[in-house]
Symmetry: C2
Amino acid sequence: MQEQPLSDITVLDFGQVYNGPYCGFLLAQAGARVIKVESLIGETLRSRGVKSTASYPFAVLNVNKESITLNIKSTQGQALLKKLVSQVDVVLENFAPGTMARYGIGAKQLRACNPQLIYASSTGYGNAPGPYRDFLGMDITLQAMTGVMSITGEENSTPLKTAAAFADFIAGTHLYAGIVSALYARKNSSEGASVDISMQDCVLPTLATALGSYYLHGEPPKRAGNRHPGRSLAPYNVYVAADGHIAIIAIREGHWRKLCTAMEKTDLINDPRFKDFPARCKNMQELDAEITRWTATRTRAEILAQTQAHGVICAPVQDLIDVVNDPHLAARGTLKTSSHKHLGNIAQMQTAIRFTDIEPPELTQPPELGANTRLVLTELAGLSNEDIDRLYQQEAI
Amino acid sequence: MQEQPLSDITVLDFGQVYNGPYCGFLLAQAGARVIKVESLIGETLRSRGVKSTASYPFAVLNVNKESITLNIKSTQGQALLKKLVSQVDVVLENFAPGTMARYGIGAKQLRACNPQLIYASSTGYGNAPGPYRDFLGMDITLQAMTGVMSITGEENSTPLKTAAAFADFIAGTHLYAGIVSALYARKNSSEGASVDISMQDCVLPTLATALGSYYLHGEPPKRAGNRHPGRSLAPYNVYVAADGHIAIIAIREGHWRKLCTAMEKTDLINDPRFKDFPARCKNMQELDAEITRWTATRTRAEILAQTQAHGVICAPVQDLIDVVNDPHLAARGTLKTSSHKHLGNIAQMQTAIRFTDIEPPELTQPPELGANTRLVLTELAGLSNEDIDRLYQQEAI
């Protein structure tokens, strides 16, 4: 691979917040020309204000994109979009269900303008018929609906979400996957396609372990804190260290023996309470107490060094300061310090889709709202400066 | 799109547990021929026993695959793999770092056998140089290392993982994305590629909201239970209902007004405590108490009907029994009842990468260990029955 894989592709990215914009970010970092299409006040994250919790996500998810404004509610804006669509490969959006179709610019209409177009949409529950199709979906409601919350948290506490917005990001990744699959197919068939990603579908497989326990025992497992969701692997937990917490897991008998060796407690290997997985699961409390006696007096770094030296699977519970300063993420080029005009120094993120053959494009700053409108409309829609001025006056752009 | 997008592609899938096998599952459901390559005792999930929590995940992630056995530790097995590789498009694996290279069958060696090969690997921390490169990684340790645990849980409790194995599955999705990107690039260049997916990289973007709060305020946000990770949106929480819990979120002023209308509490719209996002965040406790007074006496179904009728973003906290019987997942064809020989009726999962142009392939049962060894070695390696018998005797297959 000598050049970026998608360097011959142009995308109109109508993404909002995380799901769509993350897909556009992956496309841009795979070499596509990504044109972010925004309303006249800017997409949701941008319009939450320059000094808000939205500033950082907006900055990292919209690098290497151009920005144009386009009012999809105006007839001139809709006509303009149909013109642009004939010059691009992909339109992606994660609006509320049916938004684009309501304005006469849905998959059907845009694919009629360009039969090779890939029209890609992600919503909470997908576009196929079904009782939830028209429901709005956000990360928290998807974690509720999919059962993730029901299995997360301590046994006797309330259902809990994770603060990682994984429903949004796993959907954005599937959206990218669907788009590139359709681009690949188009190389053979010269036909476009419509990609239909449901956040609910994307989250479902992540329940695999808990569903495995449900089907084995006939009832849903109780919430298990940091233990194995089906309580059928041990050691598997987060343990107190002298300066925080540390996660340790043994998935094979060999890992358990290595952990005993690392802890200098080799007598535990032959202890009948811990002799195999069933015994260790049955005596999980005592097992965790034994491990905690060792971890509690050592720092996370000491435990990590000792366990890694013995081939034990282990990691410290890092906080966000640890993470943005993580030496591995820096060495790998995944995090890179950059200056943000409102936030000061921030850690920008590089794409997680990496090839050993070629480095991804350097990260840029996100575009100002509409910074590329005039250029893009001249290049792709063949408009004159006068045409463009008129569209501005009509509030179509 | 008239046929499955990857119907001209053949894959050797060395996937283990969730990350690699999920990638192979997505490839199979996109139409690729996926040959699962297993050790003589079967891959990790299979070898945990036919009646274990691993049975269900194994069954759903290995549909539409063939299975062959191949002993990568034997010289005959290694030679055989090099022969097979000349006939396939993709090799994917998520072994411990460096495993394939140690046996002389890493990216470099296999790409030398077939310059058009896509060699795709996913590990905890990726193959690029860096201090963690050789660390083993599992879902729980990645949730620790990436900071996910540090922001998940109740404010005064310990750091907590989510029971959804999302680090594994989001990496498997990126692995698929990298493979298909490389296949697309190959159409232009006729060159192979090496895909290098780090679970750590893939999880990082999901912290966007919490990192946004960190960069805005200069310190990591405290754990916030089910509230907004930066406590800068309200309402945003999980509320008690008469028969469980329900998630409600308002991301625009309009959503808040709609919620007040749905609750028949329109006086709250002009209440100075709740007049805008800053006010509602400041008075979050009182706000949540007002909402709870309404939700606590109603069932989840009543609340959902009432909020959806008013355009409020809301979802019940479903448990696993609700989820496997979810009417929308059934209507969409995402879950389908199938008979499993040890578990009885189970809900099989269809791919989340969906096209409105074509249905994904029907789901099959997962293959028995090595069920296709003879056929595949005859077809792709041109071996005779005698050759194959000898390889069995040598324990190479």
